[in-house]
């Protein structure tokens, strides 16, 4: 064997070894860590504080973790709260927004959470909620699971520590959308809580292909505005349909030029956006209220625009266009029905009424019309109408505007005062 032969075979062996190592690394990253779950939970022996609960109870005792949630039924907000136990939600990105979203859903008793993130917890994250300094260095999904299973052992938590935008990982991500639910079927909702355009486009692509309803969320780099958006492929605008929406934040654009890439963040904005996102999620999953298509948040002016955005017929995403056609066909073949079915007004029956309290209908003829003077911003109304001064000649006032009525009343008062003065003068004259 010549020297060059030896060198060649050594080179060959080295490259094969490197390939094998690379393969091992990618396999390790691909394996959903739910499969190797037990080893992790064994490393941190934190015995759950309670046993799993099979059936949610509405019993009002201090030890029932669900009593306040089940009270939503008694209050007439949610018809069947317990169906939340069958729901599976994927949270992509468990940073400032996603971790809080995951915690809220866990505390609400969601059936299953699937978390995706490839980042590690850093001390620089401590200005946001959820993670603790002692978790620095851990992968975010593992750290989140450790906390969440302790908060609510009823929730199934599956974690994936990878970047969904690369080829192999994307296939796993799509697979989990398709088969990730509690019954190994399609999941109920995807929540995007990522911090970059690439990942949002990847979620958008997957959801358009799989016809999966999802919600997008975001907080601006200057930390003073944010938004959530509900995306039903074909029905509402997808993420590629329109340029990303931002809430005007009333800041001089030039001040946004930043040194370096360090984005600002506040726990407040993150929590507000997380709250909006989970509220919209609960409304969607449990079928109550109105699911918002878009809610913006401008922290500087406390401005909350709420919009609906139609899909773009010439959207760049091929699957978005397919979904739009499907949706058009679907609605053209369907009888027109309202999207949101208003729950029938059932009379509220109180179980006990020892004091015989009744609600008495106010006289409908007396009901104050919402005149210009009492109208407030759209979406707001008074809990009760402000007390009104009794009108003397209400029949005369009918055709007058409120300001005219006030002027008229004022004039009448002056007239009355003048008449009274006149009368007194006459009386004094008589005495003389």
């Amino acid at each position: 064997m010549t020297e060059s032969d030896v060198a060649e075979s050594i080179g060959d062996i080295v490259s094969r070894l490197n390939n094998a190592l690379d393969d091992l690394e990618t396999k390790k990253n691909q394996t959903p860590s739910v499969l190797k779950g037990p080893t992790v939970s064994q490393e941190r022996p934190s015995a759950p504080y309670r046993q799993k609960i099979e059936k949610l109870s509405a019993e009002v005792v201090d030890s029932n973790p669900y009593s306040r949630l089940m009270a939503l039924q008694r209050m007439g907000i949610v018809r069947d709260y317990e169906q939340i136990r069958d729901k599976t939600v994927a949270v992509v990105g468990v940073g400032g927004v996603g971790s809080v979203v995951a915690e809220m859903l866990t505390r609400c008793g969601i059936g299953k959470l699937i978390l995706f993130d490839y980042d590690k917890v850093e001390i620089a994250n401590m200005n946001r909620l959820f993670y603790q300094p002692n978790q620095a260095g851990l992968s975010k999904v593992e750290a989140a699971r450790d906390t969440l299973i302790h908060v609510n052992p009823d929730v199934q938590i599956e974690v994936h520590n990878f970047n969904i935008t690369t080829m192999d990982n994307f296939d796993v991500f799509v697979g989990r959308i398709r088969n990730g639910s509690l019954k190994s079927g399609k999941i109920d909702l995807v929540l995007s809580c990522v911090d970059n355009f690439e990942a949002r486009m990847a979620v958008n692509m997957a959801c358009n292909e799989e016809n999966q309803i999802w919600m997008e969320s975001g907080v601006s780099e200057n930390a003073v505005s944010g938004h959530i958006q509900y995306i039903e492929p074909g029905k509402t605008a997808c993420f590629a349909c329109v340029p990303p929406l931002v809430v005007a934040s009333n800041i001089d654009e030039r001040t946004l030029k930043r040194e370096g890439v360090c984005a600002a963040s506040l726990p407040t904005t993150m929590a507000v956006v997380a709250g909006f996102l989970v509220m919209n999620t609960l409304k969607y999953l449990l079928n109550f209220g109105e699911v918002s298509h878009y809610v913006g948040y401008n922290a500087l002016a406390d401005f909350f625009p709420r919009e609906s955005i139609k899909p773009n017929p010439s959207c760049d995403d091929r699957h978005c266009q397919i979904r739009q056609k499907e949706y058009e066909e679907k609605i053209s073949s369907e009888p027109i029905t309202l999207d949101i079915q208003a729950p029938e007004d059932e009379p509220i029956i109180h179980e006990e009424n020892d004091w015989g309290i009744e609600v008495v209908d106010s006289d409908t003829t007396e009901a104050p019309s919402s005149s210009a003077a009492t109208e407030v911003a759209p979406g707001l109304k008074f809990a009760y109408e402000p007390t009104q001064t009794p009108k003397k000649n209400s029949s005369d006032n009918l055709k007058l505007s409120p300001s005219q009525a006030v002027t008229k009343e004022w004039m009448e008062n002056i007239r009355d005062a003048l008449l009274e003065e006149d009368r007194l003068k006459k009386e004094q004259n008589k005495r003389k």
Binding site: M167, F170, G260, V261
Partner: protein
């Protein structure tokens, strides 16, 4: 944009097919065009004596790796460079990473991905799908290195490799 960047940019052939790594044959077509563009760019750099990177990819063209280097005061600083082609490519640009500089500069995301959001991503968004890897290097990595590397050297954070 200065004149030398403009001239080197003009010399890079534009990509014609809008295809991502999940598009099968169309992707292979774009990959071919991409290789041609990179070869042209490297050739162009060599003839003008401004050669500054070399690249190769895995078989499917989804993972790219190589070297890039920068001369400062006649000393060569060389770095490993790598990136994945995201599944959303070419709508989103590849995220170019210099892993050995991870944590050494603020203008970098986790894993050593250089920050392109300010100077390059708007440009990419306007020119998709015509831009390819060669453009990302010429307009993204190139200017980033020209700003960051001298700064890192002056701060004493990086030293030339012996």
């Amino acid at each position: 944009m200065d004149e030398t960047t403009k001239s080197s940019l003009k010399a890079i052939p534009l990509c014609k097919t809008k295809a991502g790594p999940r598009d099968g044959d169309l992707w292979m077509e774009r990959l071919k065009a991409k290789y041609e563009a990179i070869i042209a760019a490297v050739q162009n750099n060599k003839t003008s004596d401004r050669d500054w990177f070399k690249l190769e990819a895995n078989e499917r063209g989804t993972k790219w790796f190589g070297k890039c280097w920068y001369f400062h005061n006649m000393v060569k600083y060389e770095f490993d460079v790598e990136f994945d082609i995201p599944i959303t490519y070419p709508v989103t640009a590849p995220e170019i990473a210099l892993p050995e500089l991870d944590g050494k500069t603020a203008k970098m995301y986790r894993g050593g991905k250089i920050c392109l959001s300010e100077h390059f991503k708007p440009l990419w968004a306007r020119n998709t799908p015509k831009f390819g890897i060669a453009h990302a290097f010429a307009l993204g990595l190139g200017p980033w290195m020209a700003v960051e590397i001298p700064d890192l050297i002056e701060k004493g954070i990086i030293q030339p490799k012996a």
